[in-house]
Subunit: 258 residues, 2 copies
C-alpha cells in the first residue's frame, strides 16, 4: 500500500555522486509537488549502473504513488535510464514513432538521425511521451514512473507538462519564524507546542551565518487555522525568551496566515 | 561484502524533502571523499521518522565501508537521529561524560544544562565523539556509521576531523572537456573512446546556459596515463567535429594531466 499524493525521486547521476555537480532538481521538484499537496517521501541518488538503477526502482515503486527519475536519457553511452526502467518493469524497448518525428524535426533531416540520436526515440513499450521544448528528445511516463531529463531547464519544462496530470492533494501551507536564539533555548517549550498540534509539523533548523548561530522554526500543515495558532505560539515563545534584543521575522509560504 | 574505500550518505531531513532547504552537504562530502580515493556509492534523503531512518540504516550499512549521516542531532523534538541509530544498531543510549563536559563548557554552568541540552550528550553505547568547534554538541562514530550535524559549517568541521581516520584509497583524477557541441554529435565516437579505456570512466553532461546547449565531457580515473590519453582523444574528437568555430576548454581536477 502506498500513500496517495506521495512521490519519491530517483536521481541517476555519477556527476552528483562524484561531487562535480550540485543537484538543484530536488528542491525544484519538492516545491512544485508541495504546492499541489504531493509529499516527497524520499530521494535517492544512484550511479549510472544498470543493476543499481533497477534495484532502486524495484524498491521505490512500491513506496509512493509516483516515482520521478532525473538524468540518463540522452544519446551517449552513459545514458542507461531507459534500458534500466524497461528492465525493472519487465517491458520491451520500442521505437516510438512520435518521438522519432520530434527528433526528425529537431535535427532537420533523416540523415541527421544517427543511431545515437534515434536511441532517444526508444522507450519502454506503453510509455506516454513528455515533450521537451528545449532539446527535442522527450521524457515519458510509464506506469507510475515519470522519466525526466537531468538538465534542470529541461526537467523543469517536462515537469510543468506533467503536473496537471497528477492527482492533487491538499496543499501543505507553511510559516517560517526566524530568530537568533540557540535552538536549545526553546527546545522544551517548542516540544510542548508540537504536542498540542497533531496536524502541524514543527521543524527546528539551526543555521550559522556571519559567525552567528541562528534558528528557523518551520511550521507546516494542511490546516490554516491550526497553522495560524501554532505559529502565534512559536512567535510568543521566542519573544518570551528574547526580550527586545533579538530580531524576529516571520515568513509565510503558500496560503498560511498568522 | 562491501567495497573498500566506499561510502554512502544518509541525509535525515524533512527540510530537504519539503524543498525548503537546498542540500549542499552532498557535493562537499563527495569531493572530500573523492580526494581520498573513497567513492560515494549512494545518497538517500529520508524524513524525520524513526522507522524510515532505521530502515535506511539497515539497508545502507551493508552497502559500503562507511556510512555518513547528516542532520537530526540537535536538542529539539524533531532531532531523532541518535535514537534511530541506536535502534538500527541494537545498542542502548548512554550519557557520554566527555560530551557532557563539552556542553558544560559551552553553556557555561550546570544550571544551563537543561534536559534538551543534555540530550545532545547522549550517544549509542560505544560511540567515539567527533568534536564540534562551532556549537559544542558533538557528532560521533559508532561501528561504520559517522553521525554528523546537518548545518554545513558544523558538518564540514566534523568531517575534517574524521577524514584522517578513514582508510585512504587511490585518489580519482579527473579532467573536464567543455564545448558547445550537442552531445548527440559526438555520442558514437565517444562510446568508442570509452570502449578503449576500461580504467577511465567517461561521462557526458549536457547543459543549457544563456539559451545555448553545451556539453561537458568528464573523464575520471585512478590512472593518470590512461586519463591523459583518453582526454587527448576526446579533445581531438571535439576538434574534428568542430573546426574553429567552437570554444573548447579543458579543466583539470586532482592531479590529472593532459
Amino acid at each position: 500500500m502506498t500513500d496517495n499524493h506521495s512521490a519519491v525521486l530517483l536521481i541517476i547521476g555519477n556527476e552528483i555522486l562524484s561531487g562535480r555537480t550540485q543537484d538543484t532538481n530536488t528542491p525544484w521538484i519538492a516545491n512544485k509537488l508541495a504546492e499541489r499537496g504531493i509529499r516527497l517521501l524520499e530521494v535517492r541518488v544512484v550511479p549510472d549502473i544498470e543493476e543499481r538503477i533497477v534495484e532502486a526502482l524495484h524498491e521505490l515503486r512500491g513506496k509512493a504513488q509516483y516515482v520521478f527519475t532525473t538524468g540518463g536519457i540522452g544519446p551517449t553511452h552513459d545514458d542507461i535510464t531507459t534500458q534500466s526502467v524497461a528492465k525493472a518493469l519487465n517491458l520491451p524497448i520500442v521505437l516510438d514513432p512520435k518521438a522519432k518525428d520530434v527528433l526528425l524535426e529537431f535535427y532537420g533531416s533523416q540523415d541527421q538521425l544517427t543511431s545515437a540520436r534515434l536511441k532517444m526515440a526508444h522507450v519502454p513499450s506503453g510509455a506516454v511521451l513528455v515533450p521537451n521544448p528545449v532539446s527535442g528528445a522527450p521524457g515519458y511516463r510509464i506506469e507510475n514512473v515519470f522519466v525526466l531529463a537531468g538538465v534542470p531547464r529541461i526537467m523543469q519544462s517536462m515537469l510543468d507538462h506533467i503536473l496537471p496530470e497528477l492527482q492533487f492533494g491538499v496543499p501543505i501551507l507553511s510559516n517560517t519564524v526566524t530568530c537568533n536564539l540557540m535552538e536549545s533555548t526553546i527546545a522544551e517549550k517548542l516540544a510542548k507546542i508540537q504536542d498540542c498540534y497533531d496536524d502541524v509539523e514543527i521543524g527546528s533548523y539551526p543555521h550559522f551565518r556571519s559567525g552567528e548561530l541562528g534558528l528557523s522554526v518551520v511550521l507546516r500543515s494542511p490546516e490554516n487555522d491550526s497553522l495560524h495558532k501554532a505559529t502565534i505560539e512559536v512567535f510568543d515563545l521566542i519573544k518570551s525568551c528574547d526580550g527586545k534584543t533579538h530580531a524576529v521575522s516571520i515568513k509565510s509560504h503558500g496560503e498560511g496566515t498568522f
